[in-house]
């Protein structure tokens, strides 16, 4: 039995949730990146999580980011003929980033991150207390 497997599990979750936070940051940062070509417009990034064994001999699954998928929603088309990047018909294309959805995602990721930090803190306290009890 590895007494420290719990740290691998909670640690894998911290890593995955921070990837999710990074994806939210990237999506929000690029929300205003308009182009004149619908094919080159920024596609919002969506991390896909997967349960997986994180260490040898550990039967309980941690989590990892299986892939960072592109959101396939159509870009937002706006008629702005005066825009320097507008195509010949006067349209510009913005990424389909929903700011509200991204903020919700961010709060969810932050809460999950906190929960896992809490798990690590408790696991550390219990482990230290156990070691202390056995070595006195």
């Amino acid at each position: 039995m590895s007494s420290f497997g719990i740290f691998d599990i909670a640690g894998s979750a911290l890593a995955a949730q921070s990837v999710r936070l990074n994806a939210v940051a990237s999506n929000l940062a690029n929300a205003g990146s308009v182009t004149g070509d619908p094919n080159t417009v920024f596609k919002p990034k969506e991390p896909v999580f997967e349960a997986i064994a994180v260490s040898d001999g550990q039967s309980l699954p941690g989590v990892r980011v299986r892939e960072i998928a592109d959101n396939t929603a159509a870009p937002l088309k706006r008629y702005e003929p005066g825009h320097p990047l507008a195509d010949p018909e006067g349209y510009i294309y913005a990424p389909p980033v929903d700011a509200v959805e991204q903020m919700v995602n961010m709060i969810s990721a932050a809460r999950s991150y906190q929960a896992n930090v809490e798990v690590m803190t408790t696991a550390r306290d219990l482990t230290l207390r156990t070691i202390g009890a056995m070595s006195r």
Partner: protein, 150 residues
């Protein structure tokens, strides 16, 4: 000659270890089961946002009876592919896993509810500490016996 020595040594070891074998009684088993349960709930919390993940818990009472040998051994799940998860907990003791029934099922098939898991985690941590306190008391008792009350 060598083998004789070895057998003497092993006899001596058995004689010494005998009364101390069951030093902690059921509490030692309970501690490792609590630990396994804490690990299981940590795994649930880690997978709180994984689509399709089913939250699990350990049936503590049944696991303890089984570890103490008073319940029937039951059956284990066969692992026919390398990707299959082991039905045994990390302590190596067989523990029956049970699925958590979600209060509000999610669209993505995930049954982890962070509030429930947080509560269960706090409960498991508290039980672990309680068991640890019993063990500490037991060790203090033994220490007093060894030192002759000094």
């Amino acid at each position: 000659m060598v083998s004789d020595d070895a057998s003497h040594a092993s006899q001596a070891k058995t004689a010494v270890a005998g009364p101390l074998d069951n030093l902690l009684g059921i509490q030692g088993t309970a501690l490792s089961l609590h630990r396994a349960r804490i690990d299981q709930i940590a795994s649930n919390i880690a997978n709180a946002d994984t689509p399709g993940y089913l939250a699990r818990d350990i049936d503590f009472e049944q696991a303890l009876q089984r570890a103490a040998g008073s319940a029937d051994a039951g059956v284990d799940i066969a692992r026919t592919a390398p990707g299959h998860l082991n039905a045994h907990n990390s302590a190596g003791a067989p523990a029956r896993q049970v699925y958590r029934i979600p209060l509000q099922p999610a669209q993505d098939g995930n049954t982890v509810e962070l509030s429930t898991e947080n509560a269960k985690f706090a409960e498991a941590a508290m039980r672990y500490q309680a068991t640890l306190t019993f063990i500490e008391g037991r060790m203090n008792t033994l220490k007093t016996a060894i030192k002759g009350g000094e």
